[in-house]
């Protein structure tokens, strides 16, 4: 819908062929990997629908490719499963608050192709207020609950190493188990992206009894990812994300998209100025069937 407003979608023209996009079209659904347990990013609402920021990215890609934001097959993937799931073709798109790193992008590592950064996060630490800990240095020698396989683990290790402190890492495989152990008082602190800390804190019985420490341990640029061996598909996702940025800047929403489109058609010069030439050319190439 947003792309229709941008005027770049579904134009005919010769293009690069994409195995993955052909498969998605014939399947009629976009298979999108999400976390499913992080409030605000991806979680299941009471009516069974997926909701959140990561989920919206999946829906936008489905809308651009298949014409409807509901043509998405959501799959919950754990931190460990996520990249192999993309590499094996089990999921088309990974939109699961994943940090862009060199190791994950490089062919010698996970060999992912990352779309533009959609969220700028940073690793943080949360402690119970009652513990009296107010800075990272106070955590030396204490047990800290972590998510197995998240980048925050390295960030925390590095952060404490700079302070010449060691800690006892207690690793869990899901966010729920990790916060469960923290709330039971097994760990002096819990560490993951600050967005996830803030979101999860709202689900606690007494959110105000927990403090997110001021230290930001790392830069965690979060971005959707696709398989590296299909550059045309990666380009399409990249420019769909750019189209979202553009729509946000110009105030285009689902409610006013029809009016904006009519306005643009009535006044092509205005529309021409508004959209970036590059965007139009690129998308025409990428989205051609």
């Amino acid at each position: 819908m947003l792309l229709a407003a941008c005027g770049c979608a579904n134009d005919s023209g010769g293009g690069v062929s994409s195995v993955r996009m052909a498969a998605i079209r014939s399947h009629g659904q976009l298979i999108c990997g999400v976390d499913g347990q992080v409030s605000g990013f991806s979680s299941v609402a009471a009516d069974g629908r997926y909701q959140g920021f990561d989920v919206d990215v999946c829906r936008a890609v489905a809308a651009a490719l298949l014409g409807s934001g509901n043509k998405v097959d959501f799959r919950n993937v754990t931190a460990t499963q996520r990249f192999p799931a993309v590499a094996s073709g089990e999921i088309d798109l990974l939109s699961r608050n994943s940090t862009v790193t060199l190791g994950r992008d490089a062919p010698g590592g996970n060999a992912m192709s990352f779309a533009p950064v959609v969220f700028h996060d940073g690793a943080g630490v949360m402690v119970p207020l009652a513990s009296g800990i107010t800075s990272l240095a106070g955590l030396g020698g204490k047990p800290i609950c972590l998510l197995s396989g998240a980048t925050t683990e390295q960030a925390l290790t590095d952060g404490l190493r700079r302070l010449n402190r060691r800690y006892v890492p207690l690793k869990f495989s899901t966010i729920d188990e990790m916060f469960g152990a923290y709330q039971q008082g097994r760990c002096a602190a819990v560490s993951i992206d600050r967005s996830a800390l803030a979101a999860q804190r709202t689900t606690f019985a007494v959110p105000a009894a927990h403090l997110i420490l001021p230290e930001v341990l790392s830069k965690e640029p979060l971005a959707p990812a696709t398989i590296e061996s299909d550059p045309a598909w990666a380009d399409a996702v990249r420019w769909i994300v750019y189209a979202l940025f553009e729509a946000e800047e110009q105030g285009i929403t689902q409610a006013n998209v029809a009016a904006k489109l009519a306005e643009a058609k009535a006044n092509p010069k205005l529309a021409e100025r508004r959209q970036s030439d590059q965007c139009r050319r690129q998308l025409r190439r990428d989205l051609s069937p």
């Binding site: 931190a79 460990t80 060999a111 396989g149 683990e153 290790t157 190493r161 890492p169 869990f172």
Partner: protein, 324 residues
Amino acid sequence: MNGTPWWRDRRVLPWLLQAVVGLAVLVLVALLMTNLVRNLSAAGLLLSWRWLGQPAGFDLSETLLPFNASMPYGRALLAGLLNTLRVIVIALLGSSLLGALVGMAAFSRNGLLRGLARVYVEVVRNVPLLLQLLFWYFLVFLALPDGRAALQLPGLVLAKSGLYLAGFAGGSWQGPQLLNGSWQAPLQLSVEFGALLTGLITYIGAFIAEVVRGGIASVPRGQWEAAGSLGLHGVATLRHIVLPQALRVIVPGLTNQYISLAKASSLALACGFTDLYSVAETTLNQTGRAVEVVLVLLAAYLAIDLLISAAMNGLNRLVQVRER
């Protein structure tokens, strides 16, 4: 030599058949391997082992050999393997002892003891192990009091963070001490280790109890009666007459339980314990070498189980009746 044609020759045919089957297996394995390598290289992933020597960048809790974040992945995996072995060895001894006691209790003249043994076996073996581990960890061990309120006995403290035992440290006998709100002692076991161990011992113990009960039940009733008529009392009958005969039936069943114990130990991550699987998962995530890390895991668990099999087969030969 007589005139038997080779296709009916008992000396040729078995060898020929074995060669054909062996060749078929080799071809199948080669096919699977080529398929794997071809698809991996098509996806731009070739097997590489360089990552083993790169610094891990993550820390481990409770290791038997010194470890810090600047040491290589290979050493992290080794530390994980040692933790796995530690769990397996202790759980193996514990579940054998528990299983033997409960299995024998099934033949007790005390009705209450018999009933308790039955209830324990039926409840524990019919609930999934993963659920039991979560139960032990979150509902039992993490519900323990901490700090000053912890359970304290002379030379022993059981707190939310772990079990602390007195021991020799720096040449002198030291008991557990409370320093800055956390306990310190010469010997420490974390609650994660405790929960995993308790879960594995009670679960596998229930199966072993059934194996032991079956073994004892296989000894004919006449053997008990004969021992009684010789004037042997209950315990002596069990020890000298029944158990030596029952062991022949028990040992093969035990082998299965020990092997499944070794495999079940890989559920450690559910209660936060750093075993081989947990380290491998972090390694896989950071390096992206999924195939290589899984191959390491497969090889390690296969080796552990083959070792247990070999040892138990040796024990089995010892307890079998030697017929003359």
